[in-house]
């Protein structure tokens, strides 16, 4: 159900832009108005979500400790998986965000007769996830060449590295193939693994289809249904410099691609894609395990009803005296 629904939505999105541009000729709407709205929604939504999360305090120090604690000089602490300092936390977060450290631990359990359990090597999800995210980032950086003049060095660098294979003309980008392959993998495992299928929601399929359509349209445009890149750059620069113009004669493929990007941007803050921001705020990862060393204050701490020693002694005094236990009041 989720699959069909999500596919339909993506198909409808493509139909809308196709009709809008090709039939109705709403170039300005799809070239200027929607992109501005989308970026506004993205930035506003993203900031709002982060602020909203940050507004809730972190009352307790609850890191998941994934290695040896800091104790004695003669016991080696695992400073990255169980950090006790800020530097350690930065290291842990860097591993988490850049290399998906936690996902790298993944294994797969297998139940055999007996019952007997075995734990299998399973790094495919980690590998696909990592390649997908890095590909997406590099593709994003590459695209900055449309929005900048002169194009910054790091954008050129991303472009050069990505096109290092230099196969054919125009040169093939590694990330184009990778993103298609990894998104396809991420989709297939959702359908093929029974547990994955069972837990998947439309909100899990939709972004995959959207990104698949997005990448496909981009690849089609680059290698097969060419559009005038100079005009695309003119449009992009217009948007970036707040003097928007829509040059005539850009192919409809571009508008499909562009509209799907806009959809992704606008959808982002309201979806699970916000894990991009959330991972940085996750208290089980971004806190040092130092709560026995440094006092952490809970901002909403309040006094609670306790059973005091006096009440306890009042209740048990006679029995305590009889048993020879010291008491405060004889």
């Amino acid at each position: 159900m989720g699959i069909k629904f999500s596919l339909l939505v993506v198909a409808a999105l493509i139909a809308v832009v196709f009709l809008g541009v090709k039939v109705v000729g709403m170039y300005y709407v799809f070239g200027v108005i929607i992109p501005y709205l989308a970026i506004l929604t993205f930035v506003g939504g993203f900031v709002y979500r982060i602020m909203n999360w940050a507004r809730s305090p972190v009352p307790f120090v609850i890191p998941t400790t994934a290695g040896q604690q800091y104790s004695f000089p003669w016991i080696k602490q695992n400073k990255l998986d169980n950090p006790s300092t800020t530097a350690g936390v930065i290291g842990r977060m860097a591993l988490e965000v850049l290399l998906f450290r936690s996902l790298f631990r993944n294994s797969k359990v297998e139940l055999r007769d007996g019952p007997k359990l075995t734990y299998q090597w399973e790094k495919w999800l980690w590998l696909a996830g990592l390649l997908f995210h890095w590909s997406f980032l590099i593709i994003f950086i590459r695209h900055l060449r449309f929005f900048t003049e002169p194009v910054p060095g790091f954008v050129h660098l991303a472009d050069t590295l990505d096109g290092i294979l230099q196969v054919g003309l125009p040169g093939i980008y590694l990330t184009d193939g990778l993103i298609l392959a990894t998104v396809t993998y991420l989709f297939i495992r959702r359908v093929v693994i029974p547990q994955m299928k069972y837990i998947s929601l439309p909100a899990d399929y939709f972004p995959l289809f959207l990104i698949l359509a997005l990448a496909t349209s981009g690849i089609l445009m680059r290698y097969f249904i060419r559009v005038d890149l100079l005009k695309v750059k003119e449009l992009a620069m217009g948007l970036a410099s707040f003097h928007p113009t829509v040059p005539e004669g850009i192919g409809v493929m571009f508008f499909i691609h562009f509209f799907l990007v806009c959809t992704l941007f606008a959808y982002f803050p309201f979806s699970k894609l916000m894990h991009l921001g959330g991972v940085f705020l996750s208290p089980t990862r971004n806190m040092p395990n130092d709560s026995r060393m440094v006092r952490h204050v809970n901002p909403w701490d309040y006094p609670v009803k306790v059973h005091t020693y006096e009440e306890y002694e009042d209740h048990f005094r006679e029995k305590m005296i009889e048993a020879g236990l010291p008491v405060e009041k004889e």
């Binding site: 999360w53 940050a54 305090p57 972190v58 009352p59 307790f60 120090v61 998941t64 400790t65 994934a66 604690q69 104790s71 016991i75 080696k76 998986d81 936690s102 996902l103 631990r105 294994s107 797969k108 359990v109 139940l111 019952p115 359990l117 999800l125 996830g129 495992r189 547990q195 069972y198 837990i199 929601l201 439309p202 909100a203 309201f270 699970k272 916000m274 894990h275 991972v279 705020l281 996750s282 208290p283 089980t284 395990n289 709560s291 026995r292 060393m293 006092r295 952490h296 809970n298 701490d301 609670v304 306790v306 059973h307 020693y309 306890y312 002694e313 048990f316 305590m320 048993a323 010291p326």
Partner: protein, 539 residues
């Protein structure tokens, strides 16, 4: 009480059902749920809606506005806990956690996959607190809070042991323990705790410990073990109680006072403290290390934990030493100072024997007994004869909370390797931070829940089976009172022939004490290796 199927009769099917999870209602089959909290226990703790009820009943006797109370409870917790808010929002359902839960592995019930356990609550969160959920309903994974949903919460959030194994594998660190904590707080808002938690918490609040042992009885029980020790090696140890001016206050879970095999661990403590001449006292008021409040709510955790510092202050001790216990140490490590500190009336713990300053406890002023003992051994302050544990072939079970809520991993291994000659690790992926829960943690160690406990205990037991087959392991050491109680049952069920011991029981066995007579038995009265014959001769 339901009978538990034999190990070979247990059906475990990992295939999810045909119906979607929102359309698969929960069935309260005997053996798979815990009894509801009794009126007197809820009253003793001033918890809402005390009444006679059973989760097996159709009518749970909730207040009329229960739904409002729960939704308001969610709203309040979203404001108070960033963890809760973020964990409600950022799960991508990648499924990395799915097969990491011992309850899922042992039951195959998809709602025991951590991701789906969280979705049980998330679906309601989406429905009432997110725009997408309000607009798109089921399409956005949202559903209304109904009585069936609420019952499902009770069933599955008391089928999670808050062991945090899933959180280790989650790319965003989503911690199901945190979600379960919140869900249990919500359930408690309308009086839906389980009695195995509410009872011990009530006991602890009024009597000082979960088992409700009164002061005179507490003293009696410990003195009983003084006699037991004397019977083993002729040394008479002299514990003191509620003594002002002692240097150290010692607090351990009351389970160690009450039941085998924890009691042997307690004997180990007594012997160790006597041998090194530690100036310490027990407390009958703060006679509980564990914290069943932790399984109820943050507030209840604070209420029960408060006794530790209060008693340390009253007695005027310098610092606190804590016994072998799992959840107790998560509370001490991650919550105690924030909740009931600052402990500015105490001093940074310094071992009076070695002079080691326990820098890692400089704020809480509370040191773990295994840290304390490891330091003693490192400095050569203990005379140990590990051969006295030669009748044991030992493996070590990391408790969830000391592993994933603290990181106490090398210290117990160091102690074990010094007190016994035969030590074997279980396979990688089942120990240290990846350790498997005993299957009965977080207050679920009750008899009526036995089938699920045994199912949840399977992954741990299976790893034990491996070392049992390969290395003849016949004893598993652990540093948690719940472990000691429940792993015994789990081993009898899955791996007969493997016993459970605390680390300090083995220390007690190996400890060469001044003035002791020759030992022929261990603390359990079982003959030492090579002494079997002399035992026979006595007969």
């Amino acid at each position: 009480m339901a009978t538990v199927p034999k190990p070979n009769e247990l059906v475990i099917d990992h295939k999810p059902p045909q119906t979607g999870w929102m359309d698969t209602p929960v069935v309260f089959r005997p053996g798979t749920w815990c009894y509801g909290a009794k009126t007197k226990n809820l009253k003793a703790l001033d918890l809402p809606n005390p009444r006679e009820w059973s989760p097996g009943d159709e009518d749970w006797k909730l207040p009329e506005n229960w739904k409002e109370i729960i939704l308001e409870g969610i709203r309040e917790r979203l404001e108070k806990y960033r963890s809760f808010k973020i964990f409600m929002d950022i799960c991508v359902r990648c499924g990395a956690c799915a097969d990491k839960c011992h309850f899922w592995i042992g039951t195959g019930d998809p709602k025991n996959m951590p991701v789906l356990r969280a979705e049980l609550l998330r679906s309601v969160y989406r429905n009432d607190f997110t725009t997408a959920g309000k607009l798109l309903g089921k399409m956005a994974g949202a559903r209304e809070l109904t009585m069936d949903v609420f019952k499902e919460w009770f069933y599955y959030f008391f089928q999670c042991t808050e062991c945090r194994r899933c959180s280790l594998f989650c790319p965003y660190g989503i911690d199901t323990a945190e979600i379960t904590l919140m869900a249990r707080e919500l359930l408690n808002l309308v009086g839906c705790n389980i009695d195995w938690i509410a009872g011990p918490a009530a006991n602890c609040f009024n009597n000082g410990n979960h088992l409700g042992i009164q002061p005179h009885a507490f003293k009696d029980m410990i003195e009983f073990f003084v006699d037991e020790i004397e019977a083993v090696n002729g040394v008479r140890v002299e514990p003191t109680f509620n003594r002002k001016g002692a240097e150290v206050l010692f607090i351990t879970p009351s389970g160690d006072v009450f039941a085998d095999p924890g009691t042997y661990t307690l004997m180990g403590y007594l012997m160790l403290f006597h041998e090194i001449g530690l100036d310490y006292t027990w407390s009958t008021y703060a006679s509980e290390g564990g914290n069943f409040g932790f399984f109820t709510s943050h507030e209840m955790m604070k209420r029960l934990n408060a006794k530790m510092y209060a008693e340390a202050k009253r007695l005027g001790v310098k610092w606190i030493l804590g016994g072998e216990c799992g959840h107790m140490w998560r509370v001490i490590n991650q919550y105690m100072d924030t909740m009931n500190g600052p402990a500015d009336f105490l001093e940074v713990p310094v071992s009076p024997i070695t002079g080691t300053r326990f820098d890692n406890a400089r704020a809480t002023k509370m040191t773990h007994i295994v840290e304390f003992t490891a330091d003693l051994i490192k400095h050569g302050k203990l005379k140990l004869d590990p051969s006295r544990n030669d009748h044991h072939r030992v493996t070590y079970h990391d408790s969830c909370n000391t592993a994933r809520g603290m990181g106490l991993m090398e210290e117990p291994r160091y102690v074990l390797k010094n007190v016994c000659n035969n030590f074997f690790e279980m396979p990688a992926g089942t120990t240290r931070e990846q350790t498997f829960c005993c299957g009965s943690g977080s207050g679920l160690n009750t008899d009526e829940f036995m089938e699920i406990r045994m199912r949840g205990g399977l992954p741990r037991a299976n790893a034990v089976q491996y070392v049992h087959d390969k290395h003849d392991v016949n004893m598993m050491a652990c540093i948690c009172a719940i472990d000691r109680a429940v792993l015994t049952a789990s081993m009898n069920y899955w791996v007969p022939g493997v016993g459970i011991t605390g680390v300090h029981e083995l220390v007690g066995n190996a400890l060469v004490m001044e003035g002791e007579t020759e030992r022929t038995t261990d603390l359990r009265g079982e003959p030492l290796a090579g002494m079997e014959e002399s035992e026979d001769e006595d007969l």
